[in-house]
């Protein structure tokens, strides 16, 4: 059980930041699933809505940044409070970038929806689902201070990297067989890459959670086979 601060207001300020981050996390998770749905269900209207939700995410990023800076300036936090705040400042950046990647996916989906479907989408939704779970678990780990869950997220990143490589390989065969598929293949290739980037952002968050809990920096220590990070 965590002790409270002498200043209740200080506790409230930190809780407010924690809740805002979770709210932002929930919104980007929705953006991931909606952008993928827009592709799989060929729903360009949903793609437009996903794109339109991005300014809200950007706004939240600025609000959370401002709150963190206020607490840093006024409370001079130390120890785990300091780690929490510096982490929050970084997490918002990752979440905001995830939002941007979802906009990219939605844009590619809109373009793909204008053309005949190249192939049934199986691995991409799987990858999106996996990636979305990583984002959710990274944030859960952050809220609960759960380093084991954070470590799992870091390890899961490998699976997404592998899927990305597999999808690229498959798309290459389409392009080699029929140059008429190149535009669509490249767009799908982009989407795979965007998802792989989202998983990297989730991994960043998880690594920072481990730092918050353990005070140990594990960034750039987990070997990865992905050569395109």
């Amino acid at each position: 059980m965590e002790r409270e601060h002498f200043s209740k207001l200080y506790d409230e300020e930190l809780n407010d930041i924690r809740e805002k981050l979770l709210e932002m996390g929930g919104k980007v998770e929705l953006m991931i699933s909606n952008s993928m749905k827009a592709l799989v269900e060929r729903n360009s209207e949903l793609a437009d809505r996903t794109i339109a939700s991005d300014p809200g995410i950007n706004q939240m990023e600025m609000e959370i940044d401002e709150k963190c800076i206020q607490v840093l300036a006024r409370r001079q936090p130390a120890g785990r409070d300091l780690r929490f705040l510096t982490l929050a400042l970084k997490i918002v950046t990752d979440l905001e970038r995830i939002g941007d990647q979802c906009v990219n996916i939605a844009n590619r989906a809109k373009e793909l929806n204008e053309e005949p479907i190249l192939k049934p989408y199986i691995d991409l939704p799987r990858m999106a689902n996996w990636t979305s779970v990583m984002v959710k678990e990274a944030l859960d780990a952050f809220v609960r201070g759960d380093e084991k869950l954070a470590m799992k997220v870091c390890k899961d990143d490998q699976f997404v990297d592998d899927l990305n490589v597999q999808i690229q390989r498959e798309l290459l065969t389409f392009m080699m067989e029929d140059p008429g598929t190149i535009t669509r293949s490249l767009r799908l290739n982009y989407i795979s890459k965007y998802l792989e980037r989202i998983a990297d952002h989730a991994t960043n968050v998880a690594e920072m959670v481990i730092f918050m809990v353990k005070g140990k920096d594990i960034r750039h220590t987990i070997p990865s086979t992905s050569d395109e990070k």
Partner: protein, 252 residues
Amino acid sequence: MKTKVKLEDLNVHFDKNHAVKGTTIDFGENSVTAIIGPSGCGKSTVLRSINRMHDLVPTAKVTGRILLDGINIYERTIDSVSIRRLVGMVFQKPNPFPAMSVYDNVIAGYKLNGRINKDEADELVESSLKRVALWDEVKDRLKANSMELSGGQQQRLCIARTIAVKPEVILMDEPASALDPLSTLKIEELIEGLKEKYTIVIVTHNMQQAARISDYTAFFYLGELIEFGETKKIFTTPDKKQTEDYITGRFG
């Protein structure tokens, strides 16, 4: 880190009150060590034991050893006055000698230890006041009464008086807590410069101050040393939960 002062199983009792319990700690040469902890944790008691100030308190009993360059300062053969010349002390409230001029204050301690001619005294006054960044402010009124200076200036004067006797270790007990923020920053900057020549141990209630100016931090609670380590670690990722709770404002 070369050890300048070593506390070995230091215990201090005041009658039945066990104020410092079995503390062992190394203070590195040319470094600033901050001692932090809530009121009554024994931090000032530890500090005072390093220049044998408890000798003057009849109820105080000090056991264990305090080694200055490897020599136990509590050896019977060692005179407390000679220890206090090597280990200077700066107190919470600026305490210049009220009946003396700025000039006489600086050389007061030195005069107690021996004779000094006018040229040497002039040079000592100037170099000491320059070292505490007070020279430019008082060089035209060296003969003025020290009480005419501001609180921050008086405190720097006291530090000048301390370093004029050429100590090796300087102990500071809340040296800036009676000063305004700007004077506090001047004292802090001064401490940063002084460590080039001296070993400094400072007791402070102001944790941000400890975080700003010290190289090492010792956290005491109820007379016990809970954690000692590099300041950059203590204030970001301390090992002990008690330390973390204290520095984050959760108890104290």
